[in-house]
């Protein structure tokens, strides 16, 4: 019996409805021992629901679940863990204020006469983490380590709880390329030990880098399942979307525009220890893309331009007049808009409705004394919901209930409502499904055609190539290359990022 032929986890006919709306409809899923299995689908395809029903967090309406040939019905995450199915979520579900060792062994610390044997626990923690190539001080609180390390600790804990099935729910969203490589190495090692791994991700590159098999969900149904080798990328995208993603992959018609006078220009602009001084010109109808690895200074550049961080050298001019740009308020008054990367913490106000979120920036610019009338608000909200195709088209729905892509569109609407001259977008397509990617990209192009100046930070090089008129490549918190026109290609950008033998293999995702 070779590991690859063992059906470790088998789901048959999983069905779940929320308030009459089917989230899962007769889904089958088979995980073999020693296999890394990608679970893919657009937002709302049913991935989360499948995982939650599999682990007992949500009760399923119908379907059978067998683990190594034995029918199980976990009613909570705890029971699922005990049965051998462990889940590591994107938000690390550990306790930040406890030590790494306590986190690894919480609830099952080695004890003698009721007292925790601290030294023994630490020894075991070090041993356990050594298996994950992690050599850290296990007595230090978990919160003192990076998210990547915290993920490793969470995985180590899950595996040590005798997990036979490990579910990784978007573990790579906040990791940089090097950390992702490390995670993959650990995943391969675990698979080699016969553990079945379910890997949920938005990054198709990663799927092809590490997965043996792919299962795709669409609209709560099984759209297809095949080995990675049998499923080329285009076919996979077709499965996920149910249509060809022509828009996202189409190349942009080259636009020959005369170099218009810049709306905003920055000379020798920078901040010590933050971003090295740079020159940047934002022109109307022009998209400037910022590319580079995580932590290379892309977001930092965007924050400097918006005044969220105060520059300590250089000059900025807007429409020819010098400006200070000391605070976002000032940038706002100058007609700048900024959609930050951390939608949840820096962007949306989850409890407020879509309408209230959309008018927020406009209201802030007008000041408290000149409130927008309800009629004006309704009018603005309706216009942008129609324009950006925000779904569901209900302005009174709390924005927290919308999918990631639609939240992003509402955020865009917030800034568009202020009719900005310069719009800064930080990772506009992060964490949203492929279909929404195409729509956001279409929007970016439309905005640019209207004469807005855009500055876009993105890790998705293929996307940058489709919309940018100019790409600035960053490395180690400095602008290292400026590509324009024909030079803007994915290999070109990668070469610029990797220049001078920077070591780490650059990744598009």
């Amino acid at each position: 019996m070779t590991p690859n032929d063992t059906h470790l986890l088998e789901l048959r006919g999983f069905t779940k409805s929320f308030a009459g709306f089917p989230a899962l409809n007769g889904v089958d899923f088979t995980l073999r021992a020693g296999e890394i299995h990608a679970l893919l689908g657009e937002n709302g395809a049913g991935k989360s629901t499948l995982i939650k029903t599999m682990t007992g967090v949500v009760a399923r309406d119908a379907g059978t679940l067998t683990l190594a040939g034995e029918a199980i019905a976990p009613r909570s995450a705890e029971e699922a863990t005990r049965a051998g199915i462990a889940t590591v979520y994107q938000e690390v579900n550990l306790v930040p204020n406890l030590s790494v060792a306590q986190n690894l062994f919480l609830g099952r610390q080695p004890t003698r006469f009721g007292l925790v044997r601290e030294r023994e626990m630490r020894r075991r923690a070090r041993e356990l983490l050594a298996g994950f190539n992690l050599d850290i001080d296990v007595a230090a609180p978990l919160e003192s380590y990076s998210v990547a390390v915290q993920h490793m600790v969470a995985i180590a804990r899950a595996i040590d709880l005798s997990a036979r099935v490990l579910i990784l729910d978007e573990p790579t969203a906040s990791l940089d390329a090097h950390e992702v490589e490390n995670l993959f190495a650990v995943m391969r090692a675990l698979a080699a030990r016969g553990i079945g791994i379910v890997f949920v991700t938005h990054f198709l590159d990663q799927v092809y880098a590490v997965c043996d098999r792919i299962t795709v969900l669409r609209n709560g149904r099984l759209a297809g399942s095949a080995t990675t080798a049998e499923l080329p990328r285009l076919e996979l995208v077709r499965l996920m979307l149910g249509r060809e993603l022509s828009e996202a992959t189409a190349t942009r018609a080259p636009v020959d525009r005369a170099e218009a006078a810049p709306v905003a220009a920055f000379t020798g602009f920078g901040k010590a220890g933050y971003v090295a001084p740079f020159d940047l010109a934002l022109r109307p109808g022009h998209v400037v893309g910022l590319a580079g690895l995580l932590g290379s200074g892309r977001t930092e550049t965007a924050r400097l331009v918006f005044g969220a961080e105060r520059a300590d050298c250089g000059t900025a001019t807007v429409a020819g007049a010098p400006v200070g740009l000391a605070a976002p308020r000032e940038a706002l008054a100058l007609g700048f808009g900024y959609c930050p990367e951390e939608r949840k913490t820096e962007g949306i106000v989850a409890e407020l409705t879509v309408r209230e979120n959309i008018v927020l920036a406009l209201q802030a610019r007008r000041g408290v004394l000149k409130p927008l009338s309800r009629r004006e608000q309704d009018e603005i909200a309706r216009r942008f919901i129609r324009l950006l195709d925000i779904r569901p088209p209900d302005p009174e729905r709390p924005i927290g209930l919308l999918s990631g892509g639609n939240q992003q569109k509402a955020l865009l609407a917030r800034w568009l409502a202020t009719d900005p001259r310069v719009l800064i977008l930080d990772e506009p397509t992060r964490g949203i499904d492929v279909g929404a990617h195409a729509e956001i990209i279409r929007l970016i192009r439309a905005l640019c055609a209207e004469g807005m100046a855009l500055l876009v930070v993105s890790s998705e090089l293929e996307e940058i190539v489709t919309y940018a008129d100019e790409v600035i490549v960053l490395r180690d918190r400095a602008h290292v290359a400026r590509l324009t026109g024909e030079a803007i290609t994915v290999p070109g950008i990668l070469a610029a990022i990797a220049d001078e033998g920077a070591g780490a293999a650059p990744r598009a995702a």
Binding site: V92, N93, N97, L106, L115, N133, A140, S146, A148, E179
Partner: protein, 330 residues
Amino acid sequence: MTSLNRLMPVAATTAVFLLGFLICALVFPNFASLRVVMNLLTDNAFLGIVAVGMTFVIISGGIDLSVGSVIGFTTVFLALAIERWGIPPLAAFAIILLVAAAFGAAMGAIIQYVDLPPFIVTLAGMFLARGASFLLSTESLPINADLYAHLSDLAFRLPGGARLTVPAMIMLAVVLAGMVLLHLTRFGANVYALGGSRVSTALMGVNVPRTTVLIYTLSAVLAGLSGIVFSLYTSSGYSLSAVGVELDAIAAVVIGGTLLSGGYGFIFGTFVGVLIQGLIQTYISFDGSLSSWWAKIATGLLLFAFIAFQQITLRMARRPRARAMGVVQP
């Protein structure tokens, strides 16, 4: 570095206490004696005991406002049980501890299962227990049982006329037991975990309902024990006794370096926090001319200072660190 940060508030509290003691000793020539120290322990025994329970509650991310009322109820109950109903003192102690345990468990269960904020639940408990003690009696009742007289005579005699009394011994024992329970057991780790992240703790398989009920039970039992000590100390029961002690306890816990939002703190810090409050009282009684309200003002100022200090150290600790700390060897 981070573990050092964590100890900083406790170190600061201890330094403040030592400094305060030094100042007192310089101002009053006969202050620095074993006798004063022992009196400090005796006079604040009931506060120390209840503050240990409060430390558990606050580290778990909760609050218990009912403890002062539970102390009051206990003293009235003991006076009536021993003097009127003729229950032997030791049996009365056992009964009141069981009643307190049931009371705390009920509050914990409501917090857990009805999912109400601890503030509201224990506020209701505070009114309930205070009201119940008024229902029992509104008078101050003396307790004349032999055991009480015997216990107040019982003490380790130390040099210089100092006496380590029964209340002081009980408090020291509670502090030591609290340290062991909080820092060295699984239960203690669960208490910290709850204060760190309730959701994660549940997902990690810790029995959160059981832990929550146990924490409030522990706090109420210690409040009951504190009530016993209080009645020993005053040899009486009165429904208005120990009003506002819950706030003194919270102050002691916070001055001791425990974060009011939960997750961080030490029993030892609470102990020192109690001693600091006692020290201020002692200073005022030594001085003789100061109004006792100055103790409240001094405590208030200290509280402000410590909360500010905590925020500063917290911000320093949470400053983004280089990722280099957890380098993964490929």
